[in-house]
Assembly symmetry: C2
Homo-oligomer: 692 residues x 2
């Protein structure tokens, strides 16, 4: 059902194929170039990953170019294989010094007219697969391929997706349907969708996936037992083909639940032995098992605190059990008092991760990685970078983002998060010399860590298009790409994703790119202002509710009264959180004058009449941002409607529906937030627009 001419998307798959849709390419000189080179492929290895790469190549090329790929014919060809795999073409094309530069997941790619081929070589099959995805991506985004000569390695070691899927089929903070891993407390029989998911993840650059919720409930505790291990192993087998290692979230109290021990004390010899035995059992079933993800002593999960031990005791015990198998422990730093009294203004949840983990720097085994959320609170649309980045000099660490749009519109609003993640990654911590960017902490280069990388909470489910909102696929793709190479810009990533998903029509590309790149700013502007966060409905976290968390136990307050708003986190009069930053960061945040507008209310309690750097008062900023934000949200819909004739109806309509909802809901945000502050402050909008 292809349409051979033009840019039109192929027959509708409702978005299922995502950025591996391989839309038909337009005829022209590049098309001719592709046809010239790509019709023949040479592969000599039987390895299943290499075979998957071959299959992907066939599928991509046949779809984009509408030709048949042959492995027999003579003439120009694509050669695919490992350097050691016995493919003579590969060996002839790459010099030893090139080969030496290719890491275990990287690849070299070279157009060699003399040899009549474009060769993709890797030191491992996974590297080769990444190379094939790379060339398909180049073609899909209309890049020339006749002068290729590069070595590409991923910048980050760990490039991980965390699923918060429960074995009952529900997904915590899932906005795209139910889990496709589980159904009725079992792992699904049919792994086809999981295989397609692995393809998508691998093509974006992901190499690690934890498949169950960090809140490990009763049944999931048994994932590392014979009751579930054989099925977990089936999934690991699918992942393995695509160069992805499987991780499991484990229950720190597992020895008591499954093992029937009377304690889970990490210093108890029986407990330590239990975990060692457990590790052996797991690696027997899954030889390349990645390791454990652990949420301990957080939001009512069990942990070492129960036994008077610290997080290092807990993590190291697990690390010891995994070490000899090459496994790692990913220990989350999302630890805070979740039963705070809202009357207490001294306790500051933002301080918690630093206060808990900074003192433990250097105490963790070197196969432990601390997983640190990007901000000190919890994935708000705007918060500062976690001060733990820069504070831990002798500890492996990964940054944790949330692809799932829990607080950013829940995949009903469009919110392209790559610009936010980029901002975080480019943040200068001043931890070691003048320039110490988060991305260089995360990639391990600043402190020379054994392990490091980047993780994020998945946004997928069993909705046909994976992510509910079709445009939310850009976040999933973008996360993988950014993890692979943090130097890619948000614009480049958006552009790639659009071409690969919708084809190369420049009108489509221009429009969707603008929608994506504006969307974070738009969402921020009609929701919680100036970094204050949390003005959402409790529990489900969708929709405005200014006081939703104001009198709660969750440590997430704005302290708005008739005079002003904001949380005083300064050293002199506040919680002292600003001092967790280094040097000029600490000074700027602490200073009412220097604090950036967008974080003002995160660090300072100010009167509504306080004048921002923008020249507006806080209250006028609130009004303006909300009026403008809602207007701009409506414009997104208008922009999209310009694509009606350029997209398949199905894709067009599904996004239109969401943008319609967003436009309406943005007005609700606007009116509730504005009315709340107008009623509270009594200060009129200088433009006298409707506030209720």
């Amino acid at each position: 059902m292809k349409e051979a001419k033009g840019q039109k998307y192929k027959s509708s798959d409702s978005g299922y194929n995502a950025w591996l849709s391989y839309p038909v390419l337009p005829h022209g000189s590049l098309y001719d170039q592709y046809v010239k080179w790509c019709g023949t492929v040479k592969v000599t290895e039987e390895n299943e990953t290499i075979q998957a790469a071959l299959q992907e190549w066939r599928q991509g090329i046949e779809s984009m170019l509408d030709i048949k790929v042959s492995s027999e014919s003579e003439g120009l060809c694509i050669a695919i294989g490992t350097f050691q795999g016995g493919n003579a073409v590969i060996r002839s094309v790459f010099a030893e010094d090139t080969i030496a530069k290719v890491g275990s997941e990287g690849f070299a790619i070279r157009t060699r007219a003399e040899a009549g081929c474009i060769a993709i070589g890797g030191s491992t099959p996974a590297g080769v697969l990444h190379g094939v995805f790379h060339l398909l991506r180049l073609i899909g985004s209309l890049s020339p391929i006749e002068q290729l000569d590069e070595v590409v390695n991923p910048v980050n070691g760990l490039r991980m997706i965390n699923h918060w899927d429960n074995v009952d089929g529900s997904v915590e903070r899932g906005y795209a349907g139910r889990s496709f891993f589980y159904e009725n407390n079992r792992i699904v029989d049919d792994l086809e969708r999981i295989r397609d998911y692995a393809r998508l993840m691998s093509s974006a650059g992901i190499n690690a996936i934890s498949i169950n919720n960090v809140n490990v409930h009763e049944w999931e505790t048994l994932f590392i037992s014979p009751a579930y291990l054989p099925d977990v192993s089936r999934i690991a087998g699918v992942f393995r083909v695509y160069g992805i290692r499987l991780f499991l979230s484990v229950n720190f109290a597992g020895p008591m639940h499954e093992g029937e021990l009377e304690t889970a004390d990490p210093l108890d010899p029986g407990v330590r032995q239990w975990w060692k035995n457990k590790a052996a059992e797991i690696y027997e079933a899954i030889p390349d098992f990645g390791g454990f993800v652990v949420k301990a002593d957080s939001e009512n999960r069990p942990g070492p605190f129960t036994y008077g031990r610290d997080h290092a005791d807990g993590a190291n015990m697990l690390a010891e059990a995994l070490e000899s198998f090459g496994g790692i422990v990913i220990w989350r730093c999302f630890v805070y008092n979740c039963k705070q009294d809202w009357r207490d203004r001294k306790t500051d949840r933002a301080r918690a991760a630093y206060d808990h983990f900074k003192p433990l720097d250097g105490k963790f085994n070197d196969n432990v990685i601390l997983q640190i959320k990007n901000g000190p609170m919890d994935f708000q649309v705007r918060e500062p970078v976690s001060p733990l980045f820069g504070a831990l000099e002798r500890t492996n660490q990964v940054i944790e983002f949330q692809i799932a749009q829990e607080y950013t519109g829940q995949q009903r609003h469009v919110c392209y998060l790559v610009p936010q993640w980029k901002e975080v990654m480019e943040f200068n911590t001043h931890a070691k010399g003048e320039t110490s960017l988060v991305k260089h902490i995360v990639d391990g280069s600043l402190w020379g860590n054994r392990y490091s990388g980047i993780a994020a909470v998945s946004n997928v489910g069993n909705n046909k298009n994976w992510t509910g909102h079709l445009l939310a696929q850009a976040n999933l793709y973008g996360f993988g790409r950014l993890a692979w190479n943090p130097d890619l810009s948000a614009e480049e990533i958006a552009s790639e994703w659009i071409s690969l998903t919708f084809g190369t029509d420049p009108v489509v590309s221009g429009t969707i790119s603008r929608i994506l790149l504006d969307s974070w700013n738009i969402y921020e502007s009609y929701t919680a202002p100036l970094g204050v966060g949390w003005m959402i409905n409790p529990e489900h976290h969708y929709g405005p509710n200014v006081d939703g968390y104001e009198y709660s136990q969750w440590g997430t307050y704005h302290y708005a009264d008739h005079q002003g708003i904001g949380v005083d986190r300064t050293v002199q009069t506040g919680t002292g959180y600003s001092a967790q930053y280094i040097g000029s960061n600490a000074e700027h945040y602490d200073s009412l004058e220097d604090c950036p507008d967008e974080l003002l209310l995160f660090f300072h309690h100010v009167p509504y009449t306080h004048v921002l750097h923008s020249g507006k008062t806080v209250i006028q900023h609130i009004y303006d941002a909300h009026f403008e934000g809602a207007e701009r949200a409506a414009e997104l819909l208008t922009m999209w409607s310009g694509l009606k004739e350029r997209l398949t109806e199905d894709l067009y309509v599904q996004v239109e529906d969401r943008l319609q909802e967003q436009a309406g809901h943005a007005k609700e945000w606007r009116d509730q937030i504005n009315s709340y502050f107008y009623r509270k402050s009594g200060i009129e909008d200088i433009n006298m627009r409707s506030i209720y």
Copy 2:
């Protein structure tokens, strides 16, 4: 396991036996009197209701007096039977003119020393049963029985409990566990608990129970089909023994769901015939079936509006189907726009019931009863009486209360609601002459209605003690007693309930009575102030949340800003709701000067500095009421603790637990409400107490 001496409650049943616990009575002259008369009982009728009365008599007397009841021995006795039942003693004791005064559910009771008996006679077995419960109640509350001579008839015809139980076992707005009627989408097999429930209800005076939620979901729609009717009939059989008629809530769209018709249009001949056939089918299974309860065109339920018909069309169609079988239609007036825009201050949910139903007065068949909630909103701790009372001159009507404490502490806080109900019942509508009390509309006497009465939403579930909070049993008991006789005072009812439940220890009685009688006022004082209502968490409705419904679709707003608060429902500047009342009621409510303090914010929007009749400003009233309310809530616990040695541990502890929770939660209410208004108004508490 009885304790023969003293007032101590019998071995713990956790409250299961409730006011039919029959605590052992103290020795003394009254005890001797009871023993003298009550040891022998004379019954000649085999009728199952008479036999149930006999069984109740034995159980009550043997438990309270610790004696054996004989039906053989000579000497003084109790004679029980219908006037026509062939019991010679009964016939000899009651004169014809006495018998003539006894209605179908009433009884005559007379101590006749010459005949050596106390006779209880009724014109029906149900009347006899009520008489036996009456005498047991007199004994249980230590009243003399040697001069009895009275005829007692219930004041209200319909004395009804509405269950909001779903067949999946859940209970909408249930706070005492799950349903004891249903489990796993079936009616339970074992009817023992339902039998005990029927005993309790009958003893309190109830004669009608609807067993399923007014929101009739998929499965419950089939209650009137062969799939469920045989089981429904089993329950009706149990109810029948205790003089209770079974009602069902029906789905107005039933003909489409069950009958597979294409419409539920009430004027469609096919639909009308369907309901007629349905009625015949039901009465075949349940000859004394009570009728239908209907929630139509309300909160997304189907109804006649779908077909451009009005409520009279809808109700009359059903009434016609039931008429020949003696069945009635109870049609709820809880109809309003539940998708209101909070920005719209013209629409007023309080007006809705009157606006919908006043124009239909006189248009309903005379086996239709309109069921009207006590207030215009929804069972708030304080709201005015519904102006529909007095507005409908030619329409049968019942008042609807809510025994379930949805908005009054959810059976975690103690809130004895009888005083509230009394206030409503004594309200003078001025509808017909100077004195036109709600209770005389409700009992049918004011307008001479064919049907009338009083209904309430049940507060029971499968918790051992039926109502979750043991003290919430007083509401269930009190509702029944008030329905039977609205002239009973809240104090009398409390006193009866305490004696029957805990025994006659005056310390126990005094303490619990004070707790009950203060509780409504206490609850009101620390929750939403001055009649404004609704400052609760959305959906589940437990706990404070001042803005919880402020920006919602539910029509329940307070409009608080930095200057003032309240809903303007006056004629000149507001929604005009006040004009739905008659004469001086309309004038008083409409007037800022005359409006009673406790309803001020229901009718007027006023500045926080407005001075109440109490002499306090509104804001100071809010502060004072909340500080005092929380203090008084804590005192309830102190009072209760004085009973520690006087109650069984189990009963003591279960109430203590709830009072502890209440004391803590009242502080949360206090602090959230006070902080909200302090932050918003900026006005200090004149006593400078802690506000956050």
